[in-house]
């Protein structure tokens, strides 16, 4: 059996894990937020969120009805065979997951407004490929709803605005989003690279677990500073007031052109759904952030 033969089942399991069970780091952050929240309504919202997470796990149903549009991050070893068949296998998994879990069909043609009915369509789901040395095939699914996606932003700052400009842009983005992206949210922030690199890196930064700060201490410090100031806004859980607005900030960057200073922000709702598996040779499958299968 070749690795590609396992892709459909593994991708199906990943989608299923992601929509039903939140990763441990996200649950831990929500529990801590509940313990520390001082606003009465805010604390109540967090309690309902925790109750809902537990109920979804117990009944094995999607924890949020917006099962989003899936994005697959593929890290393929250069030695993996039949790379050209992987996307097709994932599309099959997507269609099966939509029917059997089930998911809400969310892929709509922007011109005809017709829903494809199976969560597949042009660039849907989308794929992000990395070819790495070796023979492992690593698949990650990110399930992200429309509510948080609507408030992603890119700012083409002037280079002289510097770090202060970045902070201001992130605060503005968070305040503008207010209650609508289902706070407490997670922020992916990317600096540099031009519009497409920055937005791509900002979203990819959302994959990093909440208990892992940036490995570069100076960037980790900026993450902490942005975390603190955005939580001072008082938006609170579900935008109903409180001290928990942001669960974490993940920053990534690319080098920039001397004339440009792009800053991209991707917001993830509290239901930060992701799951990863590694398919080794000889059919060995390892699920990396859920121990369910």
């Amino acid at each position: 059996m070749e690795q590609v033969d396992l892709v459909e089942n593994v991708a199906f399991n990943l989608i299923n894990q992601a929509v039903v069970y939140l990763p441990e780091d996200v649950k831990k952050a929500l529990k801590r937020a509940y313990d520390e929240e001082t606003s009465k309504i805010g604390k109540r919202q967090l309690k309902i969120i925790l109750d809902n997470i537990a109920l979804a796990e117990k009944e094995k149903v999607p924890l949020c009805q917006d099962t989003g549009i899936a994005k697959f991050y593929i890290r393929a070893g250069a030695q993996v065979k039949k790379l050209d068949e992987i996307e097709r296998e994932i599309l099959r998994a997507m269609q099966r997951a939509t029917r059997d879990i089930p998911l809400r069909p969310n892929a709509v043609n922007p011109f005809t407004q017709k829903n494809s009915g199976d969560n597949t369509g042009r660039f849907t789901p989308s794929f992000d490929w990395e070819i790495v040395p070796g023979d492992n095939l690593e698949l990650t699914v990110m399930i992200k709803g429309g509510g948080s996606e609507n408030f992603g932003a890119i700012g083409m700052l002037s280079p002289s605005q510097g770090i202060l400009g970045i902070k201001k842009f992130v605060i503005d983005t968070v305040v503008k989003a207010g209650a609508q992206p289902c706070p407490p949210t997670i922020l992916g922030v990317a600096i540099g690279g031009g519009t497409e690199i920055a937005t791509k890196l900002a979203k990819k930064a959302l994959l990093r677990p909440l208990d892992k700060p940036n490995s570069d201490p100076s960037i980790a410090k900026l993450e902490k500073e942005i975390f603190e100031v955005t939580n001072m806004t008082g938006i609170g859980p579900m935008g109903m007031g409180g001290k928990t607005t942001i669960l974490g900030v993940h920053i990534d960057y690319a080098h920039r052109h001397p004339a440009t200073f792009p800053v991209a922000v991707a917001l993830n709702c509290w239901a930060a759904r992701r799951a990863t598996a590694k398919i080794g040779t000889e059919g060995k499958v390892e699920y990396l952030n859920h121990n369910l299968f």
Partner: protein, 199 residues
């Protein structure tokens, strides 16, 4: 911050007693509608056509559920709220014509809807975003579905619910609006944060 268990149909007198930040649970009929269903409903009102579902003294739910069809019967698997702000542009005309008593959603609605709620006797209740497993558990039956040609999320789902909630009253019939209050506080805090960052 008192507790109200509302049973549909809900009278105007009953709704006017409810205050901002009160907790509400609903038993009876709730009907889902989001962007496309609102657009179609408004075109029905303008053409003088009757809607194929009844909202009078009932609750409207901004939601696109996850559903499953077992044989011929629909079942709701997950049903939390969607962002209500997108429906702000429709709601005055919608409330006037449909006589809806309660709107359930998330993230709040604006001044125009707040004014319309005072005028026509309706409240806005916030349901926790993402709380779809809890929402589905309170749904006892799917009474019907209309406008399924709009796709599953945008169709109108007529749902029989028991103790649907907890919901927090975020707009009452006296023009109070919790989200607008919070937004004002946030704006003031933001100015302070920015001033501090500038040094």
């Amino acid at each position: 911050m008192s507790l109200h268990i509302l049973k549909t149909p809900i009278s105007r007198e009953e709704i006017q007693k409810i205050k901002l930040k009160d907790t509400v649970y609903i038993t009876g009929t709730i009907v889902t509608a989001r962007d496309q269903a609102h657009r179609r409903a408004l075109s029905y009102f303008r053409e003088g056509k009757e809607l194929p579902f009844k909202l009078e003294e009932r609750a409207l739910f901004h939601c696109g559920p996850v559903v499953k069809k077992n044989d011929a019967k629909w079942q709701v698997i997950a049903a939390g709220p969607t962002t209500s702000k997108r429906m702000d542009i429709f709601e005055e005309e919608f409330l006037k014509n449909s006589k809806t008593r309660v709107i359930i959603g998330k993230g709040g609605m604006g001044r125009k809807t707040t004014e319309a709620m005072a005028k026509y006797g309706a409240i806005y209740c916030a349901f926790t975003g993402g709380a779809a497993a809890l929402g589905a558990k309170a749904i006892k039956d799917v009474k019907g579905v209309k406008w399924l040609d709009l796709g599953i999320p945008e169709a109108v789902w007529i749902l029989e619910v028991k103790d649907f909630g907890p919901l927090i009253v975020a707009i009452d019939t006296h023009k109070n609006n919790l989200f607008i209050d919070i937004e004002k506080e946030v704006e003031m805090k933001k100015q302070k944060i920015l001033a501090k960052l500038q040094g």
